[in-house]
């Protein structure tokens, strides 16, 4: 009964979404039907209500173990603990699409609620476009990926949720990531509204900015959670694998990062208009591509196209429609937004332009490496993969100039070249470089390691450069804050958000540099009482015993850590075997602090007398800085999104002049 109710609610939601897509848009374009525009808000709210109903129905099916629902039977079983039973809803293709439309409806209602000051026509157009996107997804779910499909006879027991997904990280990672993906649809809808109405001014950019920054923040958080989860759950100690699934989320992030910076130029200077719109379209198209690549099975196996040609085809058509329609509108409107003036080299715009270009090039490089193997395989030209070294080699040289541009880009004034300002920020840079060199010559920087126990991939100069750039950004941020506090007036929340987010970037750069340069990895075999010393710490195997979890059996080792004779910790890595799926799973044990992680994962028992087990032991300095940096970025984005300036009733005509004069004084 419940599943049918959910299905029905979903069908009704699709009709409501269709009305939301058609009526308000029509109303905004035709003066005779202007009254229809007011329908946008109630329709968005009704759609959200229906989708929530549908979501609750599926949750109910998971909760009561209704295995006659095929999707539930595939992703849950009676032994599964309740929290995972409820998060299992987004463990598969159908349910995660449902989560997607739920997020879309949530964002739509958020726009409906917090858009009191926007012109009626723009609200109607933004919500109309979001309704149209929702129609596409709802039709896809109803026609090709129905999560409520039944099977008779119902199996007595469901298959298990993949053990990898039975983890708190996975409970929150997909919703955050989807909030980000789907949030970019708001930026896209704003861009489409600008294309439809032809209105693209500073006020438009000011309305779009907080939404875009909020979506970017969620996307950042989602990606960081995924990376953190992979680090402790996959048991391989890596935090980024350049896996196609990760790349699929990184590409929209790169473009969204360019977008939030480009929007600022459109807001403050009225420039980069066409480029901003193009970035908004690009970011959302890439997030669609990402969703589909990950969830349609195209990536894990290109043959998914063959097994369910309908799904693959629908996906492609939808992408073609979204990209095609938006680019056609763009081609029609963009010529009227030609830049009135060119950015002057050395002005803030010029650094922000550099930021955009570098981020988009980085995205293109990732796109090439991600899609090329798929295309080659689809054309039957052979099978190949693009190794992580490609991404490392391309990414580092692109990120270095980006980081270099970051500091001058925040201090130089708009519109005019102020090389004195650029020079003044270089002083702390030189200071940082001196410090780094001193530290490197003191023996801190590693050189290329030949020993097999070291996995150092950064050689000396990369370490010095990463450390210097990170330190320079931190120091110049601190210097800017001191300068700013001395001058009269208080900077807005957006300014503080920018400082915090940039600090986050620096912290992340330092973390990546630290872990890439100084990590130590050892694969060892240990018997009871044996020990191994890694990075000055002795890891001694005390015992290995069996341990019974709620739905798994585990082999659990107990390892004591000693510095000299002093015990500094205990780690209990596990090797689990899940009962219903018989799937093995490595559960690493990590001793964390701010400066380093000690990470042990248990391999398999090795034959022989006395018994021995294989272990992998890692020493990972600064690894938590990577996620700490991401947290700073997210908090910075949050601060910026709440800046009061974005919620001012009207844009005062004098405001752009004031910002120029303030810029000149800075």
């Amino acid at each position: 009964m419940w599943p049918e109710a959910g299905h029905l609610a979903l069908i009704m939601a699709a009709w409501v979404a269709l009305l939301q897509a058609v009526l308000p848009l029509w109303g905004s374009l035709s003066p005779q039907r202007a009254g229809w525009q007011v329908l946008a808000r109630p329709l968005a709210q009704l759609q959200l209500g229906l989708i929530i109903l549908s979501f609750l129905a599926l949750w109910h099916a998971f909760y009561v173990h209704d295995f006659s629902v095929k999707y539930v039977a595939h992703h849950s079983n009676t032994l599964l603990p309740t929290p995972y039973r409820l998060s299992a809803i987004w463990a598969g293709h159908e349910g995660s699409l449902l989560l997607w439309v739920l997020m879309l409806a949530l964002w739509s209602v958020a726009v409906a609620l917090f858009s009191k000051r926007l012109p009626q026509a723009m609200v109607a157009q933004v919500l109309g476009v979001m309704g149209a996107v929702s129609v596409g997804f709802l039709v896809f779910i109803l026609a090709l990926s129905n999560p409520f499909a039944r099977q008779f006879p119902a199996p007595a027991e469901g298959r298990d949720l993949t053990p990898l997904l039975q983890d708190p990280g996975l409970v929150i990672h997909p919703p955050m990531l989807y909030m980000g993906y789907v949030g970019l649809s708001v930026a896209f809808a704003f861009a489409m509204a600008a294309l439809l109405s032809g209105r693209l001014d500073a006020a438009w950019a000011r309305w779009a900015r907080p939404w875009t920054v909020a979506a970017w923040g969620f996307l950042t958080l989602g990606i960081a959670l995924g990376s953190w989860w992979a680090y402790y759950e996959l048991g391989w100690g890596g935090w980024w694998f350049w896996d196609p699934v990760e790349n699929a989320s990184l590409m929209p992030w790169l473009v969204a990062t360019a977008l939030i910076h480009s929007l600022m130029v459109t807001d403050k200077r009225g420039q980069f208009k066409a480029w901003t719109v193009l970035l908004a379209i690009g970011a959302f198209s890439l997030s669609l591509l990402g969703t589909f690549l990950v969830r349609s099975g195209v990536l894990t196996s290109v043959h998914a196209f063959a097994t369910d040609p309908g799904r693959g085809l629908f996906i492609l058509l939808f992408l073609v429609v979204v990209v095609g329609v938006s680019l056609a509108l763009f081609a029609w409107r963009a010529p009227q937004w030609a830049n009135a003036s060119q950015p002057v080299a050395g002005s803030r715009e010029s650094f922000l332009l550099l930021n955009s270009v570098l981020l988009v090039v980085a995205m293109a490089a990732v796109l090439l490496g991600t899609l090329y193997p798929l295309i080659i395989d689809a054309l039957n030209l052979g099978k190949l993969s693009v190794g992580p070294p490609y991404f490392d080699r391309v990414f580092v040289p692109l990120m270095v100039p980006l980081l270099l541009a970051m500091v001058p880009g925040t201090v130089v004034p708009w519109h005019v070249a102020r090389w004195a300002a650029v020079r003044s920020v270089l002083v702390p840079g030189v200071l940082a470089l001196l410090l780094a060199s001193a530290w490197a010559s003191w023996g801190g920087a590693p050189t290329e390691q030949d020993s097999t126990t070291q996995v150092t991939t950064f050689s000396g100069w990369l370490t010095v450069m990463g450390g210097t750039l990170g330190g320079w950004i931190v120091l110049s941020g601190a210097w800017q804050i001191v300068q700013r506090l001395r001058s009269p007036g208080s900077p807005g929340l957006a300014w503080w958000g920018m400082q915090l987010a940039h600090l986050g970037v620096a912290v992340m750069v330092l973390g990546i540099t630290g872990v890439k340069s100084f990590e130590v990895e050892r694969d060892v075999r240990l018997g009871l009482g044996d020990s191994v010393t890694v990075a000055g710490v002795r890891y001694q195997l005390l015992k290995v015993d069996n341990h019974l979890g709620p739905n798994y059996l585990a082999l659990r080792a107990e390892i004591r850590l000693f510095e000299g004779d002093r015990q500094v910790g205990t780690l209990k890595p596990e090797k689990r075997r899940y009962v219903s799926s018989a799937m093995p799973m490595t559960e690493a044990a990590i001793d964390r602090n701010l400066w380093r992680d000690r990470y042990v994962s248990l391999g398999e028992p090795l034959a022989g007398e006395p018994p021995q087990w294989s272990f992998r032991v890692y020493h990972k300095p600064f690894v938590s800085w990577i996620w700490l940096g991401a947290v700073f970025m997210v908090l910075g984005g949050g601060l910026a999104a709440f800046d009061r300036r974005y919620r001012q009733a009207q844009v005062k005509p004098s405001s752009s002049v004031t910002s120029v004069t303030v810029g000149l004084q800075a």
């Binding site: 993949t162 993969s385 190794g387 075999r525 490595t586 294989s614």
Partner: protein, 148 residues
């Protein structure tokens, strides 16, 4: 005239930068493509003699031998076999009779020295490349039967 010259210079510099970046990216791309070969192709000598590639299929039953942290096994596509050697921890789902993909290079004795061994996340899921190897071998077998 002066601003036109400036603009030309700007465009020229921009093009130069883009071309440089493109060359750099494509160069890195070219040198990091890792091709996949089935055991049959490796046996026929189609795989690169020096250079990394991937080989995949099933882990042959009874072929796993351990020696300390080193492990030796045989990858088969049911037609031909490739002996593989690897040092380190194996993935959780590495098992005899299951699908596997190894990345590495051939040594002088035609032993495949793996730097990475991949088995996928899901029990029921076969690495697509390993499946491909089996499909190719099956096709070849059918073809051979027809010829006979």
């Amino acid at each position: 005239m002066k601003s036109r010259h400036q603009r030309l210079l700007g465009i020229g510099l921009g093009l130069l930068l883009v071309c440089g970046a493109l060359f750099f990216v494509l160069n890195a791309f070219q040198s990091n493509l890792v091709f996949f070969f089935t055991p049959t192709q490796v046996a026929a000598g189609e795989a690169p003699k020096d250079g990394h590639f991937r080989v995949g299929g099933l882990v042959k039953e009874g072929s796993i031998q351990r020696d300390g942290m080193a492990v030796a096994f045989v990858v088969t596509d049911t037609q031909r076999e490739v002996p593989v050697r690897y040092v380190g921890l194996l993935p959780d789902l590495f098992k005899e009779g299951k699908g596997v993909v190894a990345q590495g290079r051939l040594d002088a004795g035609r032993l495949f020295v793996a730097s990475e061994v991949l088995a996928k996340h899901d029990e029921n899921y076969m690495p697509p490349e390993a499946q491909h190897a089996l499909d190719e071998a099956a096709k070849a077998r059918v073809g051979a039967a027809v010829v006979r």
